[in-house]
Amino acid sequence: MSVVAEMQNLSKVKGGKRQYTDNKAGHIFLLPWTIGLFAITLGPMAMSLYLSFTDYNLLQAPNWIGTDNFVRMFQDERLLNSLQVTFTYVLVGVPLQLIVALFIALLLDRGMRGLAFYRSVFYLPSMLGSSVAIAVLWKQLFGTTGLVNQFLAMFGIEGMGWISNPDTALSTLILLNVWTFGSPMVIFLAGLRQIPAMYYEAASIDGATRVRKFISITLPLLSPIIFFNLVLQIIGAFQNFTQAFIVSNGTGGPADSTMFFTLYLYQQGFKGFDMGYASSMAWLLVLIVGAFTAVNFLASKYWVFYDD
């Protein structure tokens, strides 16, 4: 069961008062995790919630300033712009990546010869994609004298500095995200394999076309997997940082066109040492990601189909 399905199930099961057979052992085995939960996760979360209402700058003790940081966020044009950049990246990049992943997975499915080889080739970029080295490569590929322009020149097309142009810089990063479609593809492939072949056979006997089979069999039966990929990729895309940082030398440029929300948060907190403001930004991010996930879960009732 996937993380997503697991969470949907949690609310269904009811617990009652009873004896626990492994109470002591359970908590001993969980001790490292429990310490981590409080010391590394929940404690800092509470702390950052407090800091988001202060003007803490690492040097002086924090002063309570109420909701000033939150008011400031909605007047901060650069922050609003960074939200727009991030939303564009998520709302265009994730669906694009998933469509490519699903398309290739569909082609690869059904016992294609050389499947293992193709799968490796498509999977590899998603393992490398988050590294600084690939961001370096991307910077060259889409630079003024980059590989893309060299190819365009062969066809007599004059390219441009894709990364130095504010209109196209973000698109190159969206493309980089699409390039890493391998890991959702692997999940799609595993999901496709779970669909019983007899459904397709029965449909063939009834004279269903390929498109018909895709719409009536593949899509509904794959919808939990599509949902799972959607939720995880959206959460991941919101947190993207490295590529924008490297491609823009940490500036989010040109003209703030690659200023992801996380990059702006980093600049405020770890360059400007405005820890209070950075904390309030972090909580805004949690709220946004949480809202997206919640909407996803709510909407899933209308399009995700569970067999069991």
Partner: protein
Amino acid sequence: MIEQKTNSSRPAVDEDSSDPRTPAEVREATTPPPVNTYKPAPRTMVRAVIKHIVMVAAALVMIYPLLWMVVSSLRPTDVIFREPGLFLTTFEWSNYEQGWNALSHPFSHFLLNSAIVVLGCILGNLISCSLAAYAFARLDFRFKKIMFGLMLMTIMLPIHVIIVPQYIMFSQIGWVNTFLPIIIPKLLATDAFFIFLMVQFIRGIPKDMDEAARIDGAGHARIFFQIILPLMVPALATTAIFTFIWTWSDFFTSLIYLTDPEMYTVPVALRAFIDATGESNWGALFAMSIVTLLPVFLAFLIGQKFLVKGIATTGIK
């Protein structure tokens, strides 16, 4: 008698024949019917060929930039700007020499730092996550449901909401510019994704064996170490490889905690290299990029099977 029997069951027919049947008859009787009489119809063949052409083209587009980067790391920088092909006339090994020694420490120093961090994180994840996973998958204790729910939620929690206070906390105890802020959280099972992966795996192990061991008086520690742990090696391998790849490439945490060049891991070293050369030396920059990608590539090659399985089982099932 036995000899004869084996003889006649062989598809090839012997001349010396005590067998009354004709060779053709024997062949027919002994040769198994052809297993695969299926011949693809021309249309399906055409479709398969087109499919392969599409796939090869797509694979090429995906992989070409990587191949080009490898080749370009052996070219002088001015050639990189005008040669989109993959053909090499000379090998500019000096790119690697230059890149290796471009910063205050040789690149091997950063590779070693990264290796230490990665090793620590792998050990941390293996130990802490397997303990937690055993509890969640097999034991019955108070607050289990709440804790499990919290664990699932931490998978989805953006790291940014904890990084600021975490940084303040770790800097107050003097851990900035050590590897501890990266390794210690793993020892405390904060990579919940792997707990989840292992829970899935342990749930798939039949309970008979631990129940039998329990009847024989084995405690949970023994069941965990002697039964569950050996059986969950594939899940441990998946965890180790994913941890390797993700930690090796992790830029954000290193950027925040490791500011002293002495302590740089590979991603921050590469970034410092970009700052130092200002992209004037693409050849050397590519060379060092390849050096940093190589371990990930090797881990991918070796562990691919586990990666595919791991990601598939956490995704579905």
